[in-house]
Symmetry: D3
Subunit: 241 residues, 6 copies
């Protein structure tokens, strides 16, 4: 491992530069431009005074996520999903993940029969767009809740704890934190980990891309994720203020 080197020059347990810029759009109840290195995701939180049909009459609210990627967020232009007429399986998988993750740290009863939609639109992609979406989406959500309480729309804060996410993976057979695109596409496996701010695991999605992963590798990757998320929780707290 002496001559192990990451393409970006980072150490194995080092995040990219993380910036969580808030107040970036004029209309949304909460917004955050999450930058993890060259990965830039615009997250907005939108209040809507009703809930999906199947939830009506329970007195409880809902939080959902939507995800999109601008066609030229990537090296080569991708087809616009609206033109293709449907969202890819990958997009749907990611939006389900965003919604599940954020709901797990929210007291839905505190929302009343209302919904908050977190839109995560990738402006530029360099790996880790789904984890940046969750991390920035939480900030947009928390800011929206803060604003809605100030406006008297909701009475108590629905946010129970923080949620943040990071990717870890195997690159040149070494566990590393926060994969960028060269590591993601050239590595042996990766794992997206969503954590709560009390140190527990909300989601773990690990895949051996080139080969299955050993138990020891999985455990080291979980340890790296714990380190990364604890740094992200701090950045979120500073962004939310």
């Amino acid at each position: 491992m002496t001559n192990f080197e990451r393409p970006s020059g980072r150490t194995a347990d080092q995040l990219r530069d993380v910036v969580l810029e808030t107040g970036v759009t004029r209309y949304a109840e909460g917004s955050c431009l999450a930058k993890f290195g060259h990965t830039h995701v615009l997250c907005t939180a939108s209040w809507q005074d009703n809930v999906p049909g199947w939830m009506r009459g329970r007195g409880s609210g809902w939080v959902t996520g939507e995800y999109g990627m601008l066609p030229r967020a990537t090296h080569t232009r991708g087809r616009r999903e609206a033109a293709a007429g449907k969202q890819s399986g990958r997009t749907q998988e990611i939006q389900r993940l965003i919604g599940r993750s954020l709901r797990s740290v929210v007291d839905l009863n505190a929302l009343g029969e209302n919904q908050i939609t977190i839109d995560c639109d990738v402006i530029q992609a360099d790996g880790g767009t789904r984890t940046a979406s969750i991390t920035g989406g939480f900030v947009a959500l928390a800011l929206a809740c803060k604003y809605l309480r100030k406006e008297g729309v909701i009475e108590r804060d629905p946010i129970v704890k923080q949620a943040a996410a990071i990717s870890v993976g195997l690159f040149k057979d070494t566990p590393v934190l926060d994969l960028d695109y060269p590591e993601d596409s050239g590595g042996e496996g990766d794992m997206n980990v969503v954590m709560s701010s009390d140190g527990d695991f909300i989601e773990i999605q690990g895949t051996g891309e080139e080969r299955p992963m050993t138990r020891a590798e999985v455990e080291e990757m979980m340890r790296l994720a714990e380190k990364g998320c604890s740094e992200l929780f701090e950045a979120q707290r500073q962004a939310i203020g």
Copy 2:
């Protein structure tokens, strides 16, 4: 007309602050973030080394436009078109307009059998998104052509002249330049005008929203558009350098 006043305090023939910021994305061959006041449109130009099926074998290229709006670009969240499974009639109308307008100032033969796609994604909307798309899209296109010539991908500049667009309309029965959202939704009529830098008309799309427009009003609106476009041509030249 003495007590006529625009919501923004502008004079009848005054544009909003226009900023054409270039080089805003890492991967696209050309890019421009076009800001007309609070209307912000991200325009990218993407090179693709083939043409649509019906054009093959002619030795000539193609320029096309695509348009989208982030769900929370507006006051109230709109439905994501990719989730709806189709692009609205309005979206298709706008992308056809962008493509037609930009093709009219390009020598398609100079592209060889290649295509440039101009993606215009509205980050924030306050009226005039289609005209900002064309004006900023031209900048992205011109920058891409400059880059492609420098790289030796194309031999001569396909850009024949500039194209820019502006909206004009009737607000409180007075012709005004560059409508913002309050004027657009509260006015009597509007007209989108696309011009070439030699002072001719590429497209004119005028609609009497609340009432038909008189011939005199149409002519005054065309005059305002000529003034606005000549300012936009200057801004484009400075942006392209």
Copy 3:
């Protein structure tokens, strides 16, 4: 311009033979087969005792347009849009235009919470199908209103004035009225103009196909449109009786 000649032998400001045949279908509340030379469009007006969801509770009605083309209305067979599974951008653009144009001459309050749908189906196409649709669609609409008043379904006539449309264009660099297909496909530009019977402009949609159009050309085209529409208004009055 001495040796300028139109393929049809018409003078520059001459309409094709226009026939507005009424009562052509057994069931519709109003109907008109609009023939502009070889362009034949069957227009029907259908009464429906409700309005779109977003309009309910306002006490006001709606007029909308739909447009279609039979597969073999043209020289070579086109794909049936129902088989393709969606309406093209062109179709949607045209139906939006028809609806907007006809609504602008109707007092929607006089309809109550009811809707009239104007279906325009092109039986045979030789250029100018959208303008024939609007011109014939107005006749179908007016006849339906007449019938509905006679039957006591509505109390007063919702028709405020007439609407008619015609295309004008540049053919061999000369402004001409009412383009047929050879002129439309071989010309330098075209403009669809919708007018109201008091001489104002409801819609202007001009495109420089081969080259931008000068201001002088645009103005001459508007003058031709005024002449053409005034002849169409007379034909509509005779058809409606």
Copy 4:
């Protein structure tokens, strides 16, 4: 049965007035407006110089049918299938029937690797649209083949025999020929029969709507269909000339 009476006053074995008007469109290789009383179907035959992918390389051609109904062909306006985004099961069932029926009287080898599409568009409907489509579609097909031979596009006539279709049904428990809409919707059962001009059965599609049909009823209905088709064959021969 003494006081049995059909709504139209026809006898049990009497067709409606049948008119097969030819040459009704300017562009199609063959066309026929088939009128069975108030049911009017515009049938066109379109030549296309290739075959569906799965047929290529066999040296043989194809005949296919498409079917549509104008939205206001019926008493109450139906939704446009192109707007709905798909063809109904009924439409698909009918177009499969048209294609199968016409192919059964054509020598597909005589077409070479080319296709003829028969479009049947219902302008006005009063029962029996599918049988009028087949009967008129055959005329359009035969006229197209005649034209294509004259032009030297095909060498020998692909038409082997005639095909015609008629509906029969049970109305007030009595077998009747050529149901109109009141009989179709108020009867106990119906059967669409497609025959070849040598007196054999190409298709039989019988349904007991209100009750199952007895063997004797089925046989009487087949006898009526034989009578009706023999009159249609004569009308086709006169139309084709």
Copy 5:
């Protein structure tokens, strides 16, 4: 006919081995695995306590059918319709047939405003899947009704009589009963016949595939269908108990 032989060695009027296995799924109100030789169709009946929108308020119920085929039910894998994004015309035709056939033997008033859906999923196909679907679907339906009466959900039996279906066809110019795949694809014509247990005809769908069928052939095929269905009615009675 001395040397006539069916691929399976059966006589012309012989059914394949028919097994109607009941109680094959844990959740459905009624179920039947219908095996006609190698053709295996899983039929389930599902109770639903509402009716389609257009039926509400009439106090009457509905029975509908749905049909699907597992991708590898056939020799070569077919595309999954859910992946293709739509049901083929063939599928829709078959489900309409199943629904119509079963409704014709049910007293819909006895269901109240409730619906029973019969799902017919082809596990393995060797010809005759639609007739096996109807025959097995009736068993599932009858078992569901028996169960619902026992549970007190409905008060009286909605089943008025039995419905069963069989295919007949021309193979080597000989009418034969219950076609398997080699006969179906290699024969001259086929006919699907749905009968009620009092010996009448619910549906007859006959097609001359290779050539039209004579009147005598059709009548012999109907006779064979009567024989086959009477055996199926007996098998159904034993299955239902």
Copy 6:
């Protein structure tokens, strides 16, 4: 934990009865009906002599998975995805998982430019359908490879090792193996684990449904998964023979 009890009476680390029945369909190159208690999934492997477009020319093959659920596989009938016109996000997520998992144990070069599709259709569902699909899908795949080698279609065995999958979860705050539906819907979290037969992890997908999971819980769940998979590998070996 003394009074901890699973609804099924199983111990925390006990699988349901697992049956992997082979040779269950007549046409597929390999097939397996995987039963995990009341969960029954029919898995077939289909050989196809080409690869998706984007893989052509690399000399390598592909393995893909498709997943479906019969409408009445569950307590209440679900909508048929083919009728809905699209596959749900959940379905797409599962088929992507099946494909990834099985590809990870196959040497794609040994397939040549050919594809094997694993169809997993749920006949009856009681929790764990995706893990039963992978476990049974592997058996179908291995049997297909065995057959294809015997037939000389492929030269060497593409199977490198076994893949199997099992769910683990938290029920009443206790980690348990192989969740059935009551445990899945009433538990606090679950994790689907795909392993290779050399004891490594191909996929880990864990979700805290009701609350985040502690690190200790995750590790105990991984231990249970290791135990469960080792029993499944043995069952697979016996099934494949």
